[in-house]
Amino acid sequence: MISLPVVLGVAAVMFAIGVYGVLSQTNTVMVIMGVELMLGAAMLNVVGFLRYSWPEAASGSFFVLVIMTLMAVEAAIGFALVISVFRHRRTAELDDLSGLRD
């Protein structure tokens, strides 16, 4: 029933939703969520390959662990930056944060 193209298709749609989120949202935190979705889609791809193409490749599942770490790191640093920006500018809206100089 479930074959590789199906899994990759679902991952593709998930990736597209992530891209839409990143491009359309004005708030930094929502952009970070969009990136999380895109990374989730990447993980789904890897698991799909792990299941259907290279089942014995342990490095595949290890690669999923690396992506999970990447998601955690990216979210953590993103929020730390947002906190310090927020402390000074009282807003996390991307439109207001365009200029670095002011």
Partner: protein, 538 residues
């Protein structure tokens, strides 16, 4: 430290010495609060009621014959929200307070809810902004009866989902909420203020957040009934806090009608008033007066300790305090307020052995040793609501609050009868919630020792050293459980002017101590001031 406490406690607990009424308790709304009834000589749990602040689950409403005016609106609102089967129990021998009779209030509440059969149509938005303001009192479960309240299975594990925020008279939301707006369906703009970006005062970590307004009281909160506390929360840290004592009771039934007094320390007031009238020392039996006063002080401190135990969620402390209160109540009933200062007539006839007094002394002593070196208590109370000695003197705070900051001022020092009993002032120095707790428990222990000695002297009708009437004009000062209480005769007439210096200062200091503290720390600081909801002067 945790393990040693557990092991030591295990042996103690297995002996099962802290018994509680195991019968099924009825959930009741207690007006003004279970602690006040304790000081009036009635333990609500022994009457079979467990104090619960949430009206929707209460089965009864227990109140004094006459209700202070400040609570009328809240009581009507509470009665309307109680389930239909609820019954009301009017306690007879509570203090006769000024105000409207309880039945009349409840009848009015019934009429109000009849003519307003259908739910109100428009009602103001109770939730707005980030956290949504809590509508009304925090409705903390006042589990005075925590040791005994069975309640739903959630009751004991500290998750009594039967609590609902009590409604402050200012904004009563209708019980039936009209259809809630579904967020992502209605995208229409809203009339609320546009908040881009968030303004406001940065909290201590430089972040600005939406303030949440929360009100505790006047009924059902952890604070004494009648005390209203309004907080502005900045996240979970208290931004600012305002306290208001809303209750006032005239000396009803006596001919001197204008004296405002505080039923929670009735003996002290009555002694001050009678002292002001007949010159310094009440003629009849000075020792009996001291016994009654010290008993009231011990009972007030131990009852306060019980409410602190339930605030901290420390069931063991609440149970031990409950066990210490029971003999004190029996002893207190032997010294009714009305009999002061003469003391009960039958005292001299058959000398009642002070069994309950000795039992109470032993239990208070065990409480003191538990708290004295307890790291568990220190973990929650050290450094909360810290007052410096200058701050206390500058604000004119008195009583245990002042003595715990190192100010050695106690009206009993000047009294020769106390010096004969070997009284010395108990003080502490760091002025925080821990110091106040330890000071009160040691003061309670000492008060019982004084009461026992005075009782022995009263039974032997020993002569009391004469009070040097240093011509204190026409006033008398007595050290109540929350500070000195003054009575001065006004001009030639029999009218009395009663004040409690330091009472307003206590409210101000408590409000200031709660600011910039995390929510639970702020409540610990507030409770540690043992505030009285009865405003005295003015």
């Amino acid at each position: 430290m945790v393990l040693s406490a557990l092991v030591r406690g295990l042996s103690q607990d297995l002996r099962g010495d802290s018994r509680q009424p195991s019968g099924e308790l009825e959930r009741a709304i207690v007006v003004p609060d279970a602690g006040a009834w304790l000081l009036w000589g009635i333990d609500v749990t022994e009457l079979g009621f467990a104090a619960v602040p949430s009206p929707t689950r209460a089965e009864a409403l227990v109140g004094p014959a006459r209700v202070p005016e400040a609570l009328t609106e809240t009581i009507i609102e509470t009665w309307r929200r109680m389930p239909d089967g609820a019954r009301h129990v009017m306690s007879l021998d509570g203090p006769d307070l000024e105000g409207r009779p309880l039945e009349e209030l409840l009848r009015e509440a019934d009429e109000r809810s009849d003519d307003r059969g259908q739910p109100e149509d428009g009602h103001d938005e109770t939730e707005h902004g980030h956290g949504g303001a809590a509508d009304g009192g925090g409705g903390a479960e006042h589990d005075h009866g925590s040791a005994a309240s069975a309640g739903p299975p959630g009751g004991e594990l500290g998750a009594p989902p039967d609590v609902e925020a009590l409604v402050a008279p200012a904004r009563p939301p209708a019980p039936q909420e009209p259809e809630r707006r579904d967020h992502d369906l209605q995208r229409a703009g809203d009339e609320q203020q546009n908040m881009m970006p968030i303004e406001g005062r940065p909290s201590s970590d430089g972040l600005v957040m939406e303030p949440i307004e929360v009100q505790l009281g006047p009924l059902g909160a952890i604070l004494p009934g009648g005390l209203v506390a309004r907080f502005t929360l900045d996240g979970d840290v208290v931004g600012d806090c305002s306290l208001e004592a809303t209750l006032s009771a005239h000396w009803s039934g006596a001919e001197r009608e204008d004296a405002l007094w505080d039923p929670l320390s009735a003996v002290a007031w009555r002694l001050a008033a009678s002292g002001a009238r007949e010159g310094r020392a009440p003629a009849a039996s000075p020792w009996a007066a001291i016994v009654a006063l010290e008993l009231e002080r011990a009972l007030s401190h131990v009852a306060w300790l019980r409410s602190l135990g339930s605030l901290l969620g420390w069931a063991e402390l609440a149970e031990l305090a409950h066990a210490a209160v029971r003999p004190l109540l029996a002893e207190r009933r032997a010294w009714p307020v009305q009999a002061v200062p003469q003391g009960p007539r039958r005292l001299s006839a058959n000398a009642r052995p002070p069994a309950a007094l000795i039992e109470a002394k032993a239990r208070v002593e065990r409480l003191r040793t538990l708290l004295e070196d307890s790291r568990r208590l220190a973990a929650r109370t050290r450094g909360r609501g810290r007052l410096s000695r200058e701050e206390v003197e500058q604000n004119g705070a008195t009583g245990p609050i002042a003595r715990s900051a190192g100010v050695e001022r106690d009206e009993r020092q000047a009294d020769p009868r106390y010096t004969e009993l070997g009284f010395n002032v108990v003080t502490r120095h760091d002025g925080d919630a821990l110091a106040r707790t330890l000071l009160r428990i040691s003061e309670a222990g000492e008060a019982l020792r004084l009461a026992e000695d005075a009782l022995r002297r009263a039974r032997e009708d020993a002569a009391a050293p004469p009070l040097d009437a240093e011509g204190a004009a026409s006033g008398a000062t007595v050290e109540g459980s929350r500070g000195p209480v003054q009575a001065t005769v006004v001009g030639r007439s029999t009218r009395l002017q009663l004040e409690a210096p330091g009472r307003a200062a206590a409210l101000a200091l408590a409000a200031r101590a709660a600011v910039e503290e995390e929510w639970s720390a702020a409540l610990v600081a507030l409770t540690s001031f043992d505030l009285s909801p009865w405003k005295v002067a003015g």
